[in-house]
């Protein structure tokens, strides 16, 4: 079977080319913007083209025998130093193809939605240029043939998130949020770079100058020593915590809500935050051989899920609630890949991208309909004004809460069940608790926004459904959020686990079997917890919700447990103080001292010697005479 193809490069290249063209057009027609229809048309070409090529890749891979399902394309040798040989190339196997499918599909839908959402906004062209760039970067990340090419995409999505989060540059807070996302990601990226470096260091003799790509790394991974392997896993995971918003680096994601709502949808559903999970799954052969690293990943994931879910229960801003729900769901995914249930974790990425895009775009419709009102306590009763948005949001919330038969149920339950089956019962227990919290906060949002009496009559009067260009993507995503779970129907429901089977060749996974009874009991228990969460939300918020100031623990949770303040006090401020010390004390007094001293020395010498530079011709004549005389004496001596 031929594994080398020549069209893989088109997948990332089309959106990147779109970004370039749109960016140039926007730059040269800044004062006098071109019609929005033109920009919208050009912006759609890249993502849709990528989607078509992705389908071709998918179809090609399906034709191949399962055990050797991959396509590669090498463009050129990027660099070759000593044993390190890096080809600029792309690599598509079942894992990256699954990512390609939903990244391009959901990315395209969000592009369509943005045409409606951003209509009439300033910098329309710039927005779509960044959007295409974001998508292209994510596709490089997913398609890269090795960690070094992946790193290009890894950095570029960080850059794009910065550009888009601070898209409304006129407000200082937005710019600060963009900075925060970029800087926090930088911390994680350091871990990623170090991880890749240690990986190469551990493998370089085994690689022996062969290309530093996944196939070769996987082939030589067994030569990695214990310490180095563990270090690689943990450092790479540090990178993942930055990109995928896990403890301790999750703080940027809630602030990333400063950007336009479709940007949040893109960051949360299709691009960026899923990168960490992808990376861990991509290196599953390493994590599988170092169970300790896997445990760290799983525990960090589930604790993040718990923390974010608790915070999410007390937020007022509709987008912040969804942001914390993303952090929490990402925690589930890491718990899944951490307990070596890679296909379950990846499947949750897949279903999550549907319902999270749906929820964000739905929230975008609400915000759009209410003219940029985001406080859920100022909404209420919108069901009558926005019936379609209400339906899709309820579907999204059910999927997020993990209520059968919506998408989230199958994927989340798979993760929890795998955790239980592999003997991590503490993780399972926390996971079930988080499922209840998830159900509670997602239905708190639904009840407060759409049910009850309108609490802000003025914005309620103005509320309206968005135009079809925005509602059609919502409907498509709602269908996806309802049925995506059936792609991986477990054998418990007489399904054939299609996604897991598809992913199997990419992942190193040992299936653990538990009895049907355990699976059934675990499932019933988690459904019960979800129902309890929904019921409690209904009881508290559906009728006459009281917006009273929170106290005690709730107040702590509303203020995000003061994690930001803690980081500010113990990391940011000392760091600033350190910088100030350097710039105000060390730099002027210690670094500058030799330089200033040298300048002073030459000044003094100049003062001394300028006496001889009298300016009178006669004096120069004396010097000449003295010089000539001395020369003559010297010459006559040597005769």
């Amino acid at each position: 079977m031929e594994h080398t193809v020549n069209y893989l490069v088109c997948i990332p290249l089309l959106p990147l080319a779109g970004a370039f063209v749109l960016g140039m057009m926007h730059m040269f027609t800044c004062k006098n913007p071109l019609p929005e229809k033109l920009y919208s048309f050009l912006a759609m070409l890249g993502p849709l083209g990528s989607l078509i090529f992705t389908l071709i890749v998918f179809a090609t891979l399906r034709e191949m025998p399962a055990e050797s399902r991959y396509l590669t394309q090498d463009l050129f040798t990027w660099f070759s130093v000593g044993d390190l040989h890096v080809d600029m190339g792309f690599f598509a196997d079942p894992l990256s193809t699954l990512f390609l499918l939903f990244v391009t599909f959901i990315g395209s839908l969000i592009h369509i939605y943005s045409i409606g959402y951003m209509a009439g906004e300033e910098n329309f062209g710039k927005y779509f240029a960044y959007f295409n760039l974001f998508l292209g970067s994510m596709l490089i990340l997913v398609l890269g043939n090795g960690p070094v090419v992946m790193f290009i995409g890894w950095e570029a999505v960080g850059l794009c998130s910065y550009l888009l989060i601070s898209f409304y540059t006129k407000e200082r807070d937005n710019v600060l949020a963009g900075n925060k996302a970029f800087i926090v990601n930088r911390v994680g990226d350091l871990g990623f770079v170090l991880g890749v470096a240690v990986l190469f260091w551990g493998l370089h003799s085994a690689l022996g100058g062969a290309g530093f790509d996944y196939l070769n790394i996987k082939a030589s991974a067994s030569s990695l020593t214990g310490g180095a392997g563990l270090a690689v896993c943990l450092l790479l995971f540090l990178g993942a915590t930055g990109k995928s918003a896990q403890i301790p680096l999750y703080v940027w994601l809630p602030d990333a809500m400063a950007g336009p709502t479709p940007v949040s949808a893109l960051i949360h559903a299709a691009t960026m935050v899923t990168a960490g999970v992808y990376m861990v799954a991509r290196f599953s052969f390493l994590y599988a051989s170092f169970p300790l690293a896997g445990d760290v990943v799983a525990w960090v994931g589930i604790l993040t899920a718990l923390l974010a879910a608790i915070i999410g229960c007390f937020q007022r801003d509709i987008k912040k609630i969804l942001a914390y729900s993303t952090v929490s769901q990402l925690g589930y995914m890491f718990a899944g890949v951490g307990v070596a249930a890679y296909s379950a974790g990846i499947f949750h990425v897949f279903t999550h991208s549907f319902f999270k895009a749906l929820l964000f775009l739905g929230a975008g419709s609400v915000i759009y309909g209410l003219h940029h009102e985001q406080d859920i306590w100022k909404m209420g009763g919108l069901k009558k004004k926005m019936p379609l948005t209400w339906i899709v949001m309820v579907i999204g919330a059910l999927a997020l809460a993990g209520f059968p038969p919506f998408a989230g149920f199958f994927s989340k339950d798979e993760i929890l069940f795998m955790a239980l089956a592999k003997g991590h019962w503490m993780i399972w227990l926390i996971g079930v608790g988080v499922a209840g919290l998830t159900a509670f906060y997602s239905f708190r949002l639904i009840f407060l926004v759409f049910h009850g009496e309108p609490r802000d009559q003025k914005s309620y009067e103005k509320a309206h459904e968005p135009p079809p260009v925005m509602t059609i993507p919502l409907i498509i995503l709602a269908v996806g959020a309802t049925f995506a779970g059936f792609f991986n129907l477990p054998s418990f429901f007489a399904g054939d686990s299609m996604v897991s089977t598809w992913l199997a060749p990419s992942l190193l996974e040992h299936h653990s079997e538990a009895s049907r009874v355990t699976e059934g009991v675990a499932m019933v228990l988690s459904i019960a917890v979800v129902l309890l969460g929904i019921f409690y939300a209904w009881k508290t918020f559906a009728f006459k919700p009281q917006d009273k100031p929170l106290t005690g623990f709730a107040k702590w949770a509303e203020d995000k447990f003061y994690v930001d303040e803690f980081y500010n006090a113990f990391i940011v401020q000392p760091w600033i103080a350190f910088g100030r010390t350097i710039s105000n004390f060390i730099e002027p007094n210690i670094v500058d001292f030799p330089i200033k001293g040298t300048a002073w020395l030459y000044g003094v010498l100049g003062m001394l010697f300028k006496v001889f530079q009298a300016g009178y011709v006669r004096v120069y004549a004396i010097y000449m005479v003295i010089g000539l005389s001395l020369m003559s004496i010297f010459l006559s001596q040597s005769l």
């Binding site: 010697f609 001889f612 530079q613 006669r618 004549a621």
Partner: protein, 98 residues
């Protein structure tokens, strides 16, 4: 015999140097330079006589020619200097002062 000529040449040369160094009038300085050139000429001629060759004589002729050119140029410079400042005191022209 030759010493007498050389002593005279040295004395003339030193007078010339003294003139260049100590006098402030630019004309005097120019004349002192002429004196130094001629002191050198005297030495050339004396050595030519001693060695009974013509080299020294030829060089003396050369120096006279150069001195003539130098005088022409020097006088022109002095006229320009005078036009600039209206004075002939060399201390006035101290643009190179550090």
């Amino acid at each position: 015999m030759i010493e007498d000529y050389l002593v005279l040449s040295v004395i003339l040369f030193c007078i010339g140097i003294l003139g260049v160094i100590s006098r402030r009038n630019v004309f005097t300085v120019l004349m002192s330079i002429e004196l130094m050139l001629n002191a050198a000429n005297l030495a050339f001629v004396a050595f030519a006589r001693l060695n009974e060759t013509m080299d020294g004589q030829i060089l003396a002729m050369m120096v006279i020619a150069v001195a003539a050119a130098e005088a022409a140029l020097g006088l022109a410079v002095i006229i320009l200097l005078h036009r600039q400042k209206g004075r002939l005191d060399s201390n006035v022209f101290s643009l190179l002062k550090g």
